[in-house]
Symmetry: C3
Amino acid sequence: MDTLVLALDFVGTFVFALSGAMLGVRRRLDLFGVLVVAFAAATAGGMTRDVLIGATPVAVLSDWRYPAITLAAGLIAFAWAPAIERLQQPVRLFDAMGLALFAVVGTQKALDFGIPPPMAAGLGMLTGIGGGIARDVLLAQVPLVLRAELYAVAALAGAALVATGHWLHWPPLPCAIGGALLCFGLRMMALRFGWHLPVALQSRDGEPPESMR
Amino acid sequence: MDTLVLALDFVGTFVFALSGAMLGVRRRLDLFGVLVVAFAAATAGGMTRDVLIGATPVAVLSDWRYPAITLAAGLIAFAWAPAIERLQQPVRLFDAMGLALFAVVGTQKALDFGIPPPMAAGLGMLTGIGGGIARDVLLAQVPLVLRAELYAVAALAGAALVATGHWLHWPPLPCAIGGALLCFGLRMMALRFGWHLPVALQSRDGEPPESMR
Amino acid sequence: MDTLVLALDFVGTFVFALSGAMLGVRRRLDLFGVLVVAFAAATAGGMTRDVLIGATPVAVLSDWRYPAITLAAGLIAFAWAPAIERLQQPVRLFDAMGLALFAVVGTQKALDFGIPPPMAAGLGMLTGIGGGIARDVLLAQVPLVLRAELYAVAALAGAALVATGHWLHWPPLPCAIGGALLCFGLRMMALRFGWHLPVALQSRDGEPPESMR
């Protein structure tokens, strides 16, 4: 089981690194800039979670395979960027798998550190979406995960199932599998059917209101 | 007294969450993106302070009322955004109160962790302005708190009074009240009279100078 | 020796603070905003490193000279911005020195905390380039260190030499000096001869591909 989780964790790291590297290529960063963004996209979520719960040194610093995988993903994206862009369907699939896995693993780790279930679910979501946020902040754009089809919602749903199961003393393995499937399924269905959350009404566009400064 | 501080802390959390949610609404994020930005605006300052001084797991992860308040503020902003924009005066008032309180509480917590007074004052300021910085970085704009009327200065003034009082062994309660009033008063007066700090002279506009890269 | 390292660390802090302040001046921040960006540019790399390895409270919070140096650099940049822009050559020189030193010191500190050599080298690089990233994220632009002439590469090369030396049980002092010289030399030569890393081929410009969301 642990080997499976580790393997899936590596897949998630690889796919998120790929997404960061592809965006870096698009924004015309040089090879090294691409690798830095790939690393941020793959590891920022887990690192932020570890820092917030006090699990330092953070996990990604103690296993050389994470940087190695990130490096490989970055080099692949750099070398074959046009080809990868054509593979939309598989990349989306892997990305949803990575999101599901990171959300579930992140929640479980937070619970193991004694964080109460509601906040553990939030940390699980953060583990899933943090990499995408770091990638977009580095590239000076509003994070796509805050706007894409049920991206953060799917992560939170999966994380919440794990946290609820922990709270009700359900066995952890089925909860983890169920949470991952819930997240993955929600995200894939949102992509397929174009599901979006509503956007609020507002009075006028442009600058934020004076009172919010 | 502790109950009062906690109640004011909740008010500050609520108001800062509101400011984040309002900005998210303006930038056309969906419901969930709005909630994420609200949470970042309300808690990033305190989380950064806790992480830097090693107070992990960070405080906001151990009390479910912070996420609950943030959620409520986000939903309210989402549902009634146009109405809230018209309430400039009350929102400014609460925002200044939140700033004053966060600055004072943040300084006190840093002092309790043995941080020397000058840096504790800096951390207090960071507690007050960190949420606004996180909110604006997420939305890819230069933080307004770095440009608004004496915003960061007011936070630092209040925090410095608390830190100075601690250094001179003055009683903590009057210092805290004085610091909060100083911050609140400075900010309200700066808003009323349009006080600004000076902007530096420069030779030409546009890109940063070559030598700074 | 320790005095020398400390003195060089102060020089690096001063120069990075200067670079942050100059950029803040260009973006028309007020005096206080300039000081905040100067502080972020000078200390974000070291603070991030300390937080990730669990060395909290972070080092910069326990020595008042760091804020004092940052403050001085910020005020100088604010007062004489046009003059400093003309000093391109010396500023570049100091900046490369700061980068070299931060990279070497950062790697050494990570190794002292038991981080394995490959990740310690990465943390050393992060110590060197983190300040520049924080500065540019605060000012909502894609970090220049991800695009400039071998900037991050030079930092990583110096850091890698220190980490390799540690792994092979070489004496630390010559490794540190060699790593700093390597980083400094690479950066200065890249500036002199305009060295760049390659940029990847891509199929079309504009928005990131759909599949990356």
